[in-house]
Symmetry: C2
Subunit: 191 residues, 2 copies
């Protein structure tokens, strides 16, 4: 058993518990039990609960960012690049609903607020890509002349509710529907 095995087990257990019970539905004791370790063991790997939570967030963001960059069509027209981002983000979360639920919990908590500031300042990984699209789009008069801080909510706001509804089973996001949705998102911001 490698040194990081238990660390991973703890993170996985925390992810699952927090994703579907929230931070307060995930006591350290329960995380430990689910991970098959003792409570105290968690504190070998994470200074405290907050560190565990932030670390988990960091790791998920990393994964998502990597996925979006993977096949990103840098050379294609703006619209295509934009559609790609939205489509792949939706697909990622459909494949990894726990990740979505976790990010949602995180975002909607005291932890999330500082991150939020970063996002708008374009610090985070794949938001540079997005901000480039917005900037170029406005320059080339392809997009509406709106602040980037408005374009982002317009384009990505729907995805949050859609994902939630998908996970709850109110909608089923299959490929044809995803195609229509991504195009609708484009319509929101295109001139």
């Amino acid at each position: 058993m490698k040194i990081s095995d238990k660390r991973n087990d703890v993170m996985q257990a925390a992810l699952e518990l927090i994703a579907d019970q929230g931070f307060h539905g995930a006591p350290m004791a329960e995380i430990a039990e689910k991970a098959g370790v003792a409570t105290g063991t968690i504190y070998r790997y994470f200074e405290n609960k907050e560190v565990l939570i932030r670390e988990l967030h960091r790791e998920l963001e990393e994964k998502i960012s990597a996925t979006l960059r993977e096949g990103y069509p840098v050379e294609r027209p703006l619209r295509e690049r934009f559609l790609y981002l939205i489509r792949e983000l939706l697909r990622y979360f459909i494949t990894n609903p726990l990740h979505f639920r976790y990010m949602e919990q995180y975002f909607n908590s005291p932890y999330g607020i500082s991150m939020h500031r970063d996002r708008l300042l374009g610090k985070s990984g794949n938001h540079d890509i997005l901000m480039d699209i917005f900037e170029l789009g406005i320059q080339q008069q392809v997009l509406k002349e709106l602040p980037k801080a408005v374009l982002f909510p317009l384009a990505f706001g729907p995805l949050i509710i859609l994902m939630r509804d998908h996970i709850l089973g109110f909608v089923i996001l299959d490929d044809p529907l995803i195609k229509q949705i991504t195009e609708a998102c484009w319509d929101t911001i295109k001139r």
Copy 2:
């Protein structure tokens, strides 16, 4: 002092605390202190914390619903009715940021999930209005031919992030901007 004075004080205190600290940042003792009553007094008016929380939600929803219905232009074209709804909702929340924060907390909690089901089934007050718009719009081929459960997120999803950013001071939603935003929301769903 009327019988309902303390009840109101408690609700107001709970609203303020919960809106900016979340449910877990609002212990009954603190709510009581802020309301200027003893802890035990709360339990004269509310069976327990959950009842208080739900009651608060009910009351806010009532107010919002009333506001949206107030000047609703029933006789005007679809587009105009739709723009009205979005614009007034934004305005309401800009005027009452605590209400927005509270509803967000509520929505993003175990309590919120049952409500969510109601919303999609069209039980809640002003959603009948909205569903009518969607239904008519599809019939008249004004709107995209998408499930109502998709039209709703597309049209209203942006508002949540926009409101959050507005409250955090990242955007300032003034009237010209609101006009552009509501029209962008319409562009998302119009054919």
